[in-house]
């Protein structure tokens, strides 16, 4: 009992700073009590929990965070990007830095002010049985609600920046995206931490992609100064004939856990998931993905590539379910990794569960070292060893970064990648 008390005390101490701030869930009392119940009843996941085997939630729960105000300072962002902007500084929406869409057929507003979206909040996410998602649901401060009406194309991407610049700040946000029948939208979500000590960001995005609609998400994560702890979750539900593409680029981060959950609930859908990570020093990047094929005639394609060096750790866990009804599914998954040092760790676990019998599914996982023969070949042409390795790293990651549709975002990622390789 004493141990349990200590843990409960830790939990309570961890959550105390969040209690004071108003939460999105205030508008949904039933969700609030569900989340409260989950936070009380569910134990904080430990490495004995399968889904958290390699990633310690204790690193977040055992730290003292604070909710602190948005600051007036400049933020780090992708400057030459032609997009609408929704800027969150330390979890708080900054209207002066933002520029929301003002387009016929598009509604983009704060989630706290979007009554329809608030009603849909929590429809996909798992705040009842996942402790960190319950935490997000219970304490999310603010977020965006983007709604694109039928047959409307959002004329520029929506660029959502989650920026932190206060010491030990926690920022808890959630967004909701509705792309109606035949509509198109592109959203770029950029996590940037730039503070002393640490920051903790929790974000859940629920997306509803209607019949014949298309949603593209680029998710970029990086830390400038200090250490960032990021728990980022996407829940997406696809209706028939829809397309959903998501690219996750983790440039840096002390502790990053991405959960990507896609329910392919309508026939003839297409889903592409690309991801890359390059942790170094003592960084830790964990990507958990889940594609759930519920119906026939859909195609999903997943490629994650990582380069792990120094004492860093990376985790890839990719679940693909092909349910009994999901005949004629094409599901492809690949995870490839290069481990550059003896102290670096890569844990890769592809999981395919197939219940239908007429499907094409494949998965592959490779983890290896540099191709030293290729390094030698490049050197034999006069290319120095460092540049040779850089060329090979870029070549390895290129497939992922080049999948990014927006030129400015792609260039930004390539430049940041290059800077990182030069360090």
């Amino acid at each position: 009992m004493e141990v349990a008390n200590v843990i409960d005390e830790k939990k309570a101490k961890f959550m105390t700073p969040f209690e004071g701030s108003s939460a999105l869930v205030d508008a949904r009392p039933e969700l609030k009590s569900e989340a409260d119940l989950a936070l009380t009843e569910i134990a904080v996941p430990t490495t004995r929990t399968e889904a958290w085997k390699y990633t310690r939630v204790g690193k977040i729960v055992n730290h003292d965070w604070n909710i602190s105000p948005s600051t007036a300072g400049d933020i780090k962002e992708i400057t030459n990007l032609d997009a609408y902007r929704a800027i969150f500084v330390n979890g708080i929406y900054d209207a002066t830095k933002s520029n929301l869409p003002n387009q016929a057929g598009v509604t983009c507003q704060l989630l706290s002010e979007a009554s329809d979206a608030l009603q849909q909040m929590g429809e996909l996410s798992d705040h009842n049985s996942d402790w960190l998602e319950a935490l997000n649901m219970r304490y999310a401060q603010e977020g965006m609600a983007l709604s694109v009406e039928a047959n409307t194309t959002l004329d520029k991407p929506l660029y959502i920046v989650h920026y932190t610049d206060n010491t030990n700040v926690a920022a808890i946000n959630r967004h909701l995206i509705q792309v109606a029948r035949g509509a198109n939208a592109e959203v770029i979500v950029h996590y940037v931490s730039n503070q002393t000590a640490k920051s903790f960001q929790s974000c859940v995005i629920e997306s509803f992609v209607a019949e014949n609609a298309e949603l593209q998400i680029d998710k970029i994560q990086e830390e400038m100064t200090g250490e960032s702890y990021i728990h980022a979750t996407e829940w997406t539900k696809q209706a028939r004939d829809s397309r959903f593409n998501i690219r996750t680029v983790t440039l840096s981060g002390q502790w990053v856990r991405n959960n990507l959950n896609i329910r392919v609930a309508g026939e003839n859908c297409e889903t592409h998931l690309f991801g890359t990570y390059m942790p170094r020093a003592k960084e830790h990047v964990d990507n958990h993905t889940m594609v759930d094929h519920l119906v026939p005639h859909c195609e999903s394609n997943e490629v994650y590539k990582g380069i792990v060096t120094d004492k860093a750790t990376a985790v890839f866990n990719g679940k693909v379910y092909v349910r009994l009804d999901a005949q004629k599914t094409n599901a492809f998954q690949q995870n490839a990794n290069i481990v550059l040092s003896d102290d670096a760790h890569m844990y890769s676990k592809p999981e395919l569960e197939i219940y239908a019998d007429d499907v094409k599914c494949s998965h592959g996982s490779t983890t290896g070292q540099f191709d030293e023969e290729a390094v030698y070949y490049l050197r034999a042409r006069g290319i120095g060893e460092a540049s040779a390795r850089k060329l090979l790293v870029q070549a390895f990651i290129k497939e992922i970064v080049e999948a990014i549709g927006d030129d400015a975002v792609r260039e930004y990622c390539l430049n940041r990648l290059e800077e990182r390789l030069d360090q």
């Binding site: 191709d371 023969e373 290729a374 030698y376 070949y377 490049l378 050197r379 034999a380 042409r381 006069g382 290319i383 120095g384 060893e385 540049s387 040779a388 060329l391 090979l392 870029q394 070549a395 390895f396 290129k398 497939e399």
Partner: protein, 250 residues
């Protein structure tokens, strides 16, 4: 140009080169022939700086510079080029990007300015025509999905781009059909000049009909045991290597 004295080299503790001497003067083409396992490819690898091989004795100089003291990239920057027997496939690195990086690093080493994109592309066009390499291959990943002949032509194309002082061709002819062989030879011949030397390692005399050597050497058990004019290659083709082996053991 190239001066090798009493070169001994081993791989995984086995001595392969056992006191090899060779001198190649500027503008000369030397052919190195010999039975399998005689050390031909080892010689190429040691000269290029492959770290799998350990030099235990002797010296090798290129224009007076101690080759053995340099890393692989510095040897290349000093003007040594090895056309690989088995060119490596490098997915994701385009031929063009690779060559531009190589050329610029070599130029930087020599204190020359970087080539402009326009000049570089003009050079690519000119040199790829030399080996009849399809322009599309230049944009593809290095050697990825290339046929055997395309890989070898790509080696000669790279040589033409980098304009080395000394080019070593390690069995560039092996496995090539006669048309591809002619193209490769034509590329090499176009590059012959009084300032450039070639070391042509081959198993077959056939190549030497097209790239006519000044001197033919026979490498056997890690040493050069016989040298002669181009007619020596004909003799080897007719009689095989047994008579050489007998001469050596006698």
């Amino acid at each position: 140009m190239l001066e090798i004295k009493n070169l001994h080299a081993s791989v995984e503790g086995n001595e392969i080169l056992k006191g090899l001497n060779l001198e190649v003067k500027p503008g000369e083409v030397h052919a190195i022939m010999g039975p399998n396992g005689s050390g031909k490819s080892t010689l190429a690898s040691v000269l290029a700086g492959n770290e799998d091989y350990e030099v235990t004795e002797g010296s090798a100089h290129l224009d007076g510079e101690d080759l053995l003291d340099m890393g692989t990239e510095d040897r290349a920057r000093e003007g040594l080029f090895l056309a690989f027997q088995y060119p490596v496939e490098i997915p994701g690195v385009s031929n063009i990007n690779f060559l531009r990086t190589a050329l610029n690093e070599i130029r930087e080493h020599k204190g020359q300015e970087q080539l402009s994109a326009k000049d570089f592309l003009r050079l690519v066009k000119e040199k790829s025509a030399l080996v009849e390499l399809d322009g599309k291959l230049a944009n593809r990943s290095v050697n990825e999905g290339f046929s055997g002949g395309e890989k070898k032509r790509n080696e000669i194309f790279q040589m033409a781009m980098l304009e080395p002082k000394l080019a070593i061709l390690d069995e560039t002819d092996s496995g090539l059909d006669i048309d591809a062989l002619k193209v490769v030879a034509q590329g090499v011949n176009a590059m012959r000049s009084p300032e450039r030397s070639f070391l042509v390692i081959t198993h077959y005399q056939r190549l030497l009909d097209y790239i006519v050597p000044d001197v033919v050497h026979v490498l056997y058990k890690g040493r050069i045991v016989k040298s002669g004019p181009k007619e020596l290659a004909m003799e080897l083709e007719e009689k095989g290597y047994d008579w050489i082996k007998e001469e050596v053991t006698a």
